[in-house]
């Protein structure tokens, strides 16, 4: 029971990060490998504001989100749009995007190392125990989970109910046809990319309340987010959330029962199973 709850709580925050990536990949068709760095930037901001001015990380979210939105929008417009225009087919765009976002991720890590050094950073926020089903859990983890759950639910509703959300889903399904019904695909792609980045950065601020991070941990989160997106199915919110919870529980299980050093190996084992048996994701349909 202990493992399941810890896993679900961890998975909840993973869901938020993976949703950000899924928006970027599902809608803008950019496999953003600098996603984890955006998370670390969010976490750094929360850490700095908390240690310098005692600003609660839950308030920092409201600063992190718009800043990350603008930053990601600029990245898309300046760096990625030319690649989209240059690419002759989807495969070429994929290769260019992978190289560019890798480059971007290394540049961000390099700048952060230069500015803040390579130390681990963590702070103590709401580190009181709470009791759930007779076991103790850190209050910060529970609060982070609730926060992630609210944001995920909000995003899900917005995508499914609002007009803008419907347009975004239309682009995710088919950019060529979305154009025919009067959707401005390039504009929406940029917005979805920016929104995805903002969601991930917020996830970073939330996760920094209970995890210890350093400038170069981003790539681990990118990898986990990618595995989640593929498990859940590209462009599928429900699938992403389910996959994130599965990964959270699986990882916690391996970490507590076998060895904490094997969390990535556990994520990989799940990934291989998915690739072999359901490469289209949990809810995905087989491509015809």
């Amino acid at each position: 029971m202990d493992i399941v709850i810890t896993g679900l709580i961890l998975g909840g925050t993973y869901a938020l990060i993976a949703l950000g990536l899924n928006l970027q990949y599902g809608v803008s068709r950019i496999m953003n490998l600098a996603n984890g760095e955006m998370l670390v930037i969010g976490a750094f901001t929360a850490f700095t504001l908390f240690t310098v001015a005692q600003v609660s990380p839950l308030l920092t979210i409201f600063i992190v989100a718009p800043v990350a939105y603008v930053l990601n929008w600029l990245i898309y417009r300046i760096m990625l749009r030319p690649l989209v225009n240059r690419a002759k087919n989807r495969g070429m765009l994929e290769q260019d995007a992978i190289l560019t976002t890798f480059g971007l991720s290394f540049v961000m890590v390099g700048i952060m190392l230069w500015a803040f050094g390579g130390d681990y950073f963590s702070y103590s926020y709401l580190s009181r125990p709470v009791v759930i089903f007779g076991d103790n859990f850190g209050l910060n983890r529970v609060v982070a989970f609730l926060c992630a759950a609210i944001l995920c639910a909000g995003l899900y509703l917005w995508l499914n109910v609002s007009r803008a959300g419907m347009a975004i889903r239309a682009v995710a399904v088919s950019p060529e046809h979305a154009r025919l019904v009067g959707i401005d695909v390039p504009k929406l792609s940029a917005r979805a990319f920016a929104l995805g980045g903002a969601v991930t950065a917020v996830g970073g601020a939330v996760i920094s309340t209970f995890l210890t991070l350093d400038a170069s941990t981003g790539v681990m989160f990118t990898m986990k987010a990618l595995i989640i997106v593929i498990m859940g199915g590209v462009g599928d919110v429900r699938g992403t959330i389910l996959a994130a919870l599965v990964l959270g529980v699986g990882e916690t299980m391996v970490a507590t029962l076998i060895d904490p050093g094997l969390t990535l190996a556990a994520a990989y084992a799940l990934f291989i199973l998915i690739l072999l048996f359901r490469p289209q994701g949990f809810f995905g349909r087989k491509p015809t």
């Binding site: 495969g91 994929e94 190289l99 480059g103 991720s105 390099g110 990898m223 990618l226 593929i230």
Partner: protein, 310 residues
């Protein structure tokens, strides 16, 4: 063989002989630099054999390389060294086959992600195994000098070039070029796309593992964090793309300047290597698509056009 091919072969053999003479200078720094360049040349060329025609970006080099160093590390006490190299090749090849079979049926993104984590996952597994059995690192004690390692790597480089040349002429090479252009077309003309990709990936994985096995004596003491450095995969990708994957000699043109630049930066600004990696990736995408080979072809094309007009 045509006359042109004999000429290329002659040039290659000549360059190889010149390169093999380097240890005669007796300059320790130069020889150590030579080992590094030879190592990356083999890695980048074998990487390009697979990734050049297929456009799949493999980040698994570090995993294969690390597995190779561990073959030497764990076998050097029990088996003769010369037996370890083929064993490393087989182990690397098998690992590549497993990875390839799981991922190469799917789109390129899945493959990149999978290979990205492969080195880290093998590292975690090896660390875990070592913790279980209680020993931390492994000593590789041989009487090999840098010169021996250098000559072995040169020999391997020659072999890789020959294999690459043979593949380029074979049905397999032709099939891969078609896959790279358009996978649907390839499938429609009856090419087993997954099998062709896996076959070439095995070649590149086996070579990387052998390089690891050859380099291991240079490290003397092997531990998971030195054997499986994820940086290695990225450096290889950058060097190969910087040179250009369109020609067999392309990666070599990228390896030499990048190794020199890397050495210079890491000795004077050791904390900025990550930034350098990032900027190189961006430079390749925006300034040098196709690498030096692409640039050379464009300039040649322009010159040809100009002389045609004149």
């Amino acid at each position: 063989m045509k006359r042109d091919e004999w000429k290329t072969l002659g040039w290659g053999a000549g360059l190889l002989v010149v390169a093999a003479l380097l240890p005669l200078t007796g300059d320790g720094y130069l020889i150590s630099l030579g080992v590094t360049i030879a190592m990356y040349t083999v890695l980048a060329t074998s990487w390009a054999l697979f990734s050049g025609p297929t456009h799949y970006i493999s980040l698994a080099t570090a995993a294969f390389f690390g597995v190779g160093t561990y073959v030497t590390g764990s076998g050097i006490e029990v088996l003769p060294y010369w037996l370890l190299l083929p064993i490393a090749a087989v182990v690397g090849g098998v690992l590549a086959a497993l990875v390839g079979l799981a991922t190469l049926r799917l789109s390129g993104v899945y493959f990149v992600i999978f290979t990205l984590g492969l080195a880290e996952m093998t590292r975690q597994a090896v660390t875990w195994y070592q913790n279980q059995t209680g020993h931390k690192g492994t000593y590789v004690l041989t009487d090999f000098t840098d010169n021996d390692i250098y000559w072995q790597l040169l020999g391997l480089a020659a072999l890789v070039y020959l294999v690459g040349w043979a593949i380029g002429r074979s049905r397999l090479g032709f099939a891969l070029r078609i896959i790279g252009d358009d996978e649907d077309v390839a499938r429609h003309v009856g090419i087993n796309t997954a099998l062709s990709k896996v076959a070439l990936f095995i070649v590149s994985g086996a070579v990387a593992a052998v390089v690891g096995a050859i380099i291991a004596p240079r490290y003397v003491y092997i531990e998971p964090s030195t054997a499986f450095t994820p940086m290695l995969s990225f450096q290889v990708v950058i060097m190969a793309l910087l040179g250009g994957t369109g020609r067999l000699w392309g990666p070599l043109v990228g390896v030499i300047p990048f190794t020199l630049l890397w050495e210079a930066i890491s000795s004077s600004f050791p904390n900025q290597t990550t930034l350098l990696l990032g900027l190189s990736f961006l430079a390749i995408v925006y300034l040098l698509p196709g690498g030096f080979v692409g640039l050379y072809d464009r300039l040649k094309g322009r010159a040809a056009k100009r002389s045609a007009l004149a």
